[in-house]
Amino acid sequence: MFKKILIANRGEIALRIIHACRELGIKTVAVYSEADENSLHVRFADEDVCIGPPRSAESYLNVPAIISAAEITGADAIHPGYGFLSESAYLAEVCEACHIRFIGPDPSVIKLLGDKARAKKAMKKAGVPMLPGSDGPVTDEEQALKVVKDIGFPIIVKAVAGGGGRGMRIVRSAGELSHALRTAQREAEAAFGNGDVYIEKYLESPRHIEFQIIGDHHGNVVHLGERECSIQRRHQKLIEEAPSPALSDKIRKKMGSTVVDAAKAVQYTNAGTFEFLMDRDGKFYYMETNTRLQVEHPVTEMVTGIDIVKEQIRIAAGERLSFKQSEVTFTGHSIECRVNAEDPDTFAPSPGVIHAFSTPGGPGVRVDTFAHSECTVTPYYDSMIAKIIVHGRDRQEAIARMKRTLDMTVIEGIRTSVPLHLKILNEADFVSGRLSTSFMDRFMPQPKKSKLADTA
């Protein structure tokens, strides 16, 4: 077992890792930028090393500084948390070269699953359901119609080199196809210098369902069930829950074993999450794999009773998984709200000094945070300051519990997303479990001109 772990992260997740290390009797090293000098993770770690100025690129993303900090403190492992360098094959490789254990998958697996094209190929081969589409660029209407014949409308035309909503057109009928192709190609050429477009099946208001897996270095891989993360704004998750109100035990078992097989097929070790979109017919389509711990891991911990971070550490230290698939049970329902330092209506960031910070206790409440009274929320990093997690006997109790917890949460001095979370929890659609990735549209200012406009 490790004697000392360096945490290459900050904020609430750095504290989360410290929790696990303390419980396992492992010493901790915090690294911090000058902006985080007084942060809780620095204060509660056994040792701390300042690694750079506030800018992430010069501190939390600075591999030499982090490795150097591990060397001067004698850390024998690094936990990268989430975000920052957690999916950096480079950090994992440097760790290997310096005889420091990287708490995560092998660099080769990180590279494979981090490359969207390679990942899709590997997952398809492993029997994971994929979003159907053209296998490569589509140049003309005739070719496009051939693809559509197989997959059906609606489809989305997307730029091969693209992103950010540009070079994309939704097409709902054959009559729109030719025009959509041409405009998407023109837009792609203008925005990315590459006019190549491909076609993918377009899912109307899908649900975001992800499966947590964990594997050791002895060939054992287990899934810990799914999380539903459909409540998102611009691909930023706001509320997550486990289990998904849309899944039956039967589907859970089936998809669970599919992801376990996929993980084994690529020799996945340590924790990971397979993300899917689920359409209205209950069909799953693979999106991507996150080769790291996720922000929303607590909801899985609440319903399974398993400490995922401790398991990560044990696995990295060479131990076998401490449980079998048959021993994994799901009890009750858990919901997590990501509390962000931002205006709940305009989403404008709201950094500053928190003057009062109080979260209620009571049954089934867990708060993961680095915030406290008189702490400073700086503008340098992402705006999430706390995760409020509840667990209840069922979804109804979890919702009631989350509402009273948010109502009794006091954060003064900055604006937070708490009022928005309460609005969401009071929506009839949320209460009845009618979730999808378009759920948050009702809270968005109406766009004057949508980039993703129908061509009708």
């Binding site: 000058e34 902006a35 000098e37 007084n38 090393v49 300042c50 690694i51 750079g52 100025p53 506030p54 501190s59 030499p64 500084a65 490795i67 150097s68 900090a69 060397e71 001067i72 403190t73 310096c98 950094p351 500053g352 000094v353 700086t378 503008p379 340098y380």
Partner: protein
């Protein structure tokens, strides 16, 4: 930096019971210290990004000047240039074990002159003097681990 800004810093120090205050911005380094040399105080207000609203007693940003401004607070001389570590690593005073140190207290150094080596990931990084002057203090010991921003040397610049 004008006298009003200095006064604001002194108020800030008094109100927050600070014994030492150091500010570095746009090439200006200013350090104010109360009484005899204390331990480095971590409650120093760092310059923050534009748009961020600091507590009301924060000092106004100083205008850029090249040379540090000599100030006397409680009889202390504060016109020293502090060389801080730009990286994380192990501090060595000489090029090889047993060799003469790059810079001793009392030694005159020139801009660009190597003061020490900081080893990081098996690479030896030379740390250079940022001005001409006399080395008046060495803050760390040979072989000591240093972090980003750690004070290494104090140099009294020659005008």
């Amino acid at each position: 930096m004008d006298l009003n800004e200095i006064k604001k810093i002194l108020d800030l120090m008094r109100d927050n019971d600070l014994t030492e205050f150091e500010l570095e911005q746009d090439g200006v380094k200013v350090r104010l210290r109360k009484g005899s040399a204390p331990q480095w105080n971590t409650h120093v207000a760092a310059p923050l990004a534009a748009g961020y609203a600091p507590p009301p007693t924060a000092p106004a940003a100083p205008s850029g000047e090249v040379a540090p401004v000599p100030l006397t607070v409680a009889g202390e001389d504060v016109d020293l240039a502090i060389i801080k570590s730009p990286i994380v690593g192990t501090f060595y005073r000489s090029p090889d074990p047993g060799a003469k140190a790059f810079a001793e207290v009392g030694q005159t150094v020139k801009t660009g002159q190597v003061l020490c080596i900081i080893e990081a990931m098996k690479l030896m990084n030379e740390i250079n003097a940022e001005c001409d002057g006399e080395v008046v203090k060495v803050y760390v010991e040979n072989g000591q681990a240093v972090q980003y921003g750690e004070r290494l040397f104090a140099i009294r610049p020659t005008a």
